[in-house]
Symmetry: D2
Subunit: 462 residues, 4 copies
């Protein structure tokens, strides 16, 4: 039974049926579709379009359909092209002709986007929980490893020593921005399109504010044309996930590189690694490689959804049916990744000794330059002088602390015996104690702040 | 003069110099670079790293450099690989060795992203103004055309009559979401990275909160590693522009189609159209086609920037130099498009007669179904019955209002003489008077709301 | 049973199992995986690694597994993480320990990409058939409508009259380029990776050329490191599909616009259109809107796959598992679209009368300019003069042919009575008879060429 | 002077002029534009539209314009909106009214795409040269380092030993596929659109085959509608560059990781590295990071160009003006990268000792499994047994060769004293001597093949 079929003289080509059908992926909207329909029935009743008895009958029927779907007792019909058709078909089977009154003044156009928004709001709530759990894992791990110094890199070259916990906390803040963005996405999603009809609005006096309250939407969409074609909220979510992926892929890249036997700084727990079918000695950080790789999938969904939207005329065009699979796959992907990333962090073994062994004196070059600065040598000059020191140490194949004072003084007379005190990784780290720096005291402040933020997040206060 | 060159034994390959150089595009950051440096000099002075005299000298020197740049008197050196190097080189020429003290405790990594954020904040302020002007053009045009009925389309097929002003106002709300998103992007951009050094933070006790206040940032970035590699704000802006493009391209598509001689609903003013080199009769809506076409450019910048960021290790990697051109081109593109779109709307000629002539009775089918609903026929049944009516009219090649009552009654006895009263476009439009609908009263409410929102926007209250 | 599990001390996290598992989508490779394994068993036998009996046993076992899979009798195990593991697990159940010899000298890395290439080659063969059928539909339709003149557009503004068949044939050539590109993609896919092992090659003296012949590959990949990480062929195919989508989306856009009641040039057959749930009169060209919309999906897969590949280290990384879903979805999408597009073309109703009625004299302006050129007025001048003619006709609200000769001569004395003969659409079309032009004679040549090309395509001669 | 301006009553908005103008980027087409115009003049002359004298005059004028442009003597006019307008304007200034005859029967639509194709063909020829030089650098470097063994990685975990030259040659083959694809792109670009007019073809009997021969095109585009809107060749080139970037970014990633002090396998020459403004000891592989980062730019251009093309109606739309900047930037980027990549390879210092020191016995696990296979243990079983061996060695913290025979035999009795002979990296490498493997003999064959291919490439035989 096609709901729109009467006027047509030919049956739809069977390939076309397959092409148009969205049931295979929109079935997951059943709960939200039915909740939307119940609210609509109540709205029609309030407007006097349905009697209270009719509304009650319809709502009872919808509850029965919901229960069938929730218990897998629902039998789909080959002609059910989408979940909305299937639900309405079944409703009418259950309650008879009164079921045919439910769609009064409503259109698939406003119905579908309402269900999709409701679904997304639920998913966002769940994602926020997963995101917080990842942040908690980060903060806990950082707090537990505040005394481990490792090489900090820029351009993947050793640059300056930093605390492992400081590196890790850098991800807390990235994910905190993701948290903020997700809250904004939620806010924009929470606007009710229902009552927009096909495109022109509602002629039955249905109170859309009451509908919004009933369904838990924060606001009502103020223009019916916009209401049926707006997919900003879909793009918002996928764009959010794309940035999240950037953060996750960067975290993955760091840990993958550090898991190599050449770095050897960390070991991914067996639960998050896999072996090789040919090489039994391998411990491959597959989880992290997949997380990194799935960035492509999400960026692709973003580019794809935008490409689909580009240049569409106003109101509903069938092209918009393409919004769902990209969104659903994005949600599914992220929902799986977040707890896996949290698990990787939680169980990560940190090899303090390998980190310590990797520290090279040349990473203290900046500290040495600052030493000269304190002796009134302008930074640019001291920077150049220390460059010469580093080159001299390379020539002699010694570490900076092994270079004779005479060598230092040959380069600049400002160097004195106390320069060797500067050549200390712990001291270097501790000296960077301004807000946001790597000194343990500064990282502890970060962690305290983070804990307060997480408390707010978990209490729903934000 | 390469600032980092001392230790190197060979000169850089000349192609490599060209490859690395960013001066051609980052020169536009000169004002923000210099303002950032002045603030840094004051910060160093407050921390006791510079004497007050040194800071004064440096700031005076920077003012001189700024003035040279602002008046095109600045002479670039072939070795100036970026604007930051150029400014510092010139500063030292002007003030001597003390200029070499400016970079103390600072790194290109925190310096560049600080300047870029400042620049972006200025650009955002300007874009907000342009966006508001476009919204004003929309509201004014809609208000002035509240009595024009046109066909509303879904799937580019005539669906239901709507007011031209209602269609137009749908774009107001899309652009209002863009306004909101831009405010959020601004908020996230307004976080100070300066003081993060290369990656590990600041060892000189520079007060970063005071720096933030000095430069007008709302907050301080809480982790130095994050501070130097965060480019979320670049992605935020390009993602914002991508959604804006979706709205603009949809507006363009509508008007391009309506400008065809077959539709003939509107005429783009000559100021926004061009002719053909071969066909003198043409009036091509080039401005709109370019606006539509430039969507690709922006979506490309978004996909490209994300691809660049994917899988980068933490902290600064040279890949990040790729952030600027995409961002700048996005800003330039949008800055040109917004006033052009506003101009197109402001000067658009609306052909009331062609719109009226295009209205086909079949667009009143829904109203006819609602007529039966009011006679207690369930909507699904009435929908099917009206389908038969439409097909019958097609067979007889008459409009719905020309179809005999007997024909109607043969299809359903509920039809009576008063059905013809329903077949009226004005009545159809006016019936959709619920919030967000196309009735003139409902559109007037939209316009009032919009005007209040715009007042807030313009007063900076948001 | 994890094939790589021995050394691990913990079981994999269950979310991680789900995250790593690819069975849900790679199950479709079962036939190619088994054919690859049979060839490998023969190769090991030729190299003396397996006895002939062992090879026979293994191949018989693989045949049994194949038959189980082909008849849906195969029972999957929850631990089967991909189709390759499942097949090998079942093989060993069926034939005992000898099954454990199959994987000698082979790795998942070379095994999986071999199966994927075989699968893709089969799909390509099928796509070529569908593409030819679409081209046939185009040529047949064009040949049957060679006498219909319609407005030709640039910028969606009427430009010059063209034959409907000429417009349609323009798509033949676009799809012919797609045909060429697909042949190239096939050629590059037909290179054997098997025998590359995990990354370093084969230590057992397996003859890879014989393997290639056995499996029907045209060549052997010449470097084992390249063999295991090359996914160019995946990108090739998706890039091919992206360009195909550009052509399909353009075809769709043309027909969607022409199906509007304002244009009314064509009617999409009911088999390829759908109705509206709320508006019974609608005939929405959904098939074409979906084809247009699915362009986003494919472009997204392209951008996504490239993003995934960006910056990967050499050889196999788990990120590469992300290649399959995008590829499979691309193949499925295109396989559905091509016959639908062919069906739309084949059944498209062309409204000759509406096309004729839409022709406006201003489209003959170029012909009028050419008239002056033949009277020795330089084109640039004649172009300007005709511009004035068109404006004068607009002022007087007459068609060009209704404009008095005196008016013409007031603009340029070169105009004479015979100018009115130029104002004829048929004549205009027929005058463009150079190769590739719209004159019926020229279009007939196109059609003849096309038919010869299609004959070659269908005979497999290309 | 706007060439199309006569009929317009208002002047174009100045922002719109800036928006439409393409001179800033299409000026680089001047040579091809003029060559195309000369050929057109000859074509018009052959068709009798121009006298031989007129053609001569026009061609002489064009030569003068060309010379002005080539010597920077050309003075642009603020009204020159693109290079084509500028050239024609100047031609008419130089030769008088006869210049106005050049554009007879031609349109910007066919003129511009002809010039762009010619330009691209020239650029492709140059890119092919650069690509070959990169391949030569690879082959030479590989040939010179055939005796260096290094760890081969999968998942960035040590997997099996390989020759450095084998790793390097893997890139030869990737770039060889790029070479092939570039040849195909060239072939498709070499099709003449000129003579298609605005969209409908040529009414003057101009011989398009003669035009093609004159301009060096291989074929003639067979349909005028297709000719003016086809941008497949633009996408082809950018898609080609995207795959090239994947190869370059993978090469860059390998070398960047290997340049870290923890790996220390290679050192990028100072000519291709840069220092740090704050940390004087740094040697950052900037060139490679930029190459990797620029992948985003190119993928963005690809996604963007496709997005622009999506859903465009047939024939020319102004959106197509957006094709050029993405293409030009792609060409410029690649033209700079290829010689830089070649230089990096040519000058790369390979640290044989660090590579040797990094080799871990566990990489010989597969060889050990193969040892058992030769003793008739099925591979799957031997794989598991060796897994136990590796774990045992880890427990005892010894290398495989240090593990007592008794320990081996406790795991499987098939192990005998000769197992220690297997634990040899050289032997492991040499055993993989089948086609495409890492044995020196096999790599030498690769290199010979490569040299033959390069000879063909350089002789233009392909």
């Amino acid at each position: 039974m096609k709901l729109w079929g009467t006027r047509f003289t030919k049956t739809t080509d069977s390939l076309v049926h397959q092409f148009n059908a969205s049931l295979s992926f929109d079935v997951r909207l059943y709960d939200e579709d039915i909740r939307g329909s119940m609210a609509w029935a109540r709205g029609l009743s309030r407007a006097g379009v349905l009697t209270q008895d009719e509304a009650r009958e319809i709502i009872a029927g919808l509850e029965a359909v919901l229960s069938e779907l929730a218990t897998d007792a629902f039998v789909f019909d080959p002609a059910d092209e989408d979940i909305h058709t299937a639900v309405e078909r079944r409703l009418t089977e259950l309650v008879g002709p009164v079921g045919g009154k439910l769609h009064t003044g409503r259109s698939r156009n406003d119905q579908v986007t309402t269900a999709l928004r409701l679904y997304l709001l639920r998913e966002i709530a769940s994602l926020r929980g997963s995101l917080v759990q990842l942040q908690v894992a980060i903060v806990d791990k950082a707090a537990a490893h505040l005394d481990i110094i490792m090489p900090g890199y820029t351009h993947l070259q050793q640059a300056q020593p930093v605390l492992f916990g400081h590196w890790l906390m850098s991800f807390f803040w990235r994910f905190q921005r993701d948290w903020d963005r997700l809250a904004e996405a939620a806010r924009r999603t929470s606007a009710l399109p229902l009552g927009a009809g096909a495109l022109a609005g509602n002629p039955l006096g249905v109170d859309r504010h009451a509908l919004a309250v009933d369904l838990g939407f924060a606001t009502v969409m103020e223009n019916s044309v916009d209401a049926v074609c707006d997919r900003d909220y879909v793009v918002d979510l996928i764009a959010w996930a794309s940035l999240l992926q950037m953060h996750l892929s960067s975290l993955a890249e760091d840990i993958i590189i550090w898991s190599s036997s050449e770095f050897g700084f960390v070991q991914v727990d067996d639960a998050y690694a896999t072996g090789s079918s040919l090489m039994p000695q391998k411990r491959n950080p597959d989880s992290l490689e997949l997380i990194r790789g799935k960035s492509g999938r999400i960026v692709g969904h973003l580019a794809g959804t935008l490409t689909t939207l580009k240049g569409l005329p106003s109101t509903y065009n069938k092209d918009l049916q393409e919004d769902k699979e990209a969104l659903f796959d994005t949600l599914d992907t992220v929902a799986l990744e977040l707890p896996i990333a949290a698990g990787v962090i939680r169980t990560l073994k940190v090899d303090r000794a390998r980190m310590a062994a990797a520290l090279d004196d040349s990473m203290l070059a900046t500290d040495l330059a600052d030493y000269l600065v304190r002796r009134k040598v302008p930074f640019r000059q001291s920077h150049r002088l220390v460059g010469r020191v580093v080159r001299r140490a390379e020539e002699l194949q010694v570490q900076l602390r092994e270079l004779d004072l005479a060598e230092y003084q040959a380069i600049h007379p400002g160097f004195a015996q106390d320069l060797y005190a500067v050549l200390d990784f712990q001291r270097s780290v501790e000296s960077r104690d301004a807000r946001g720096g790597t000194a343990a005291a500064a990282v502890r402040i970060q962690i305290e702040q983070a804990r307060m933020i997480l408390e707010d997040s978990m209490s729903g206060a934000v």
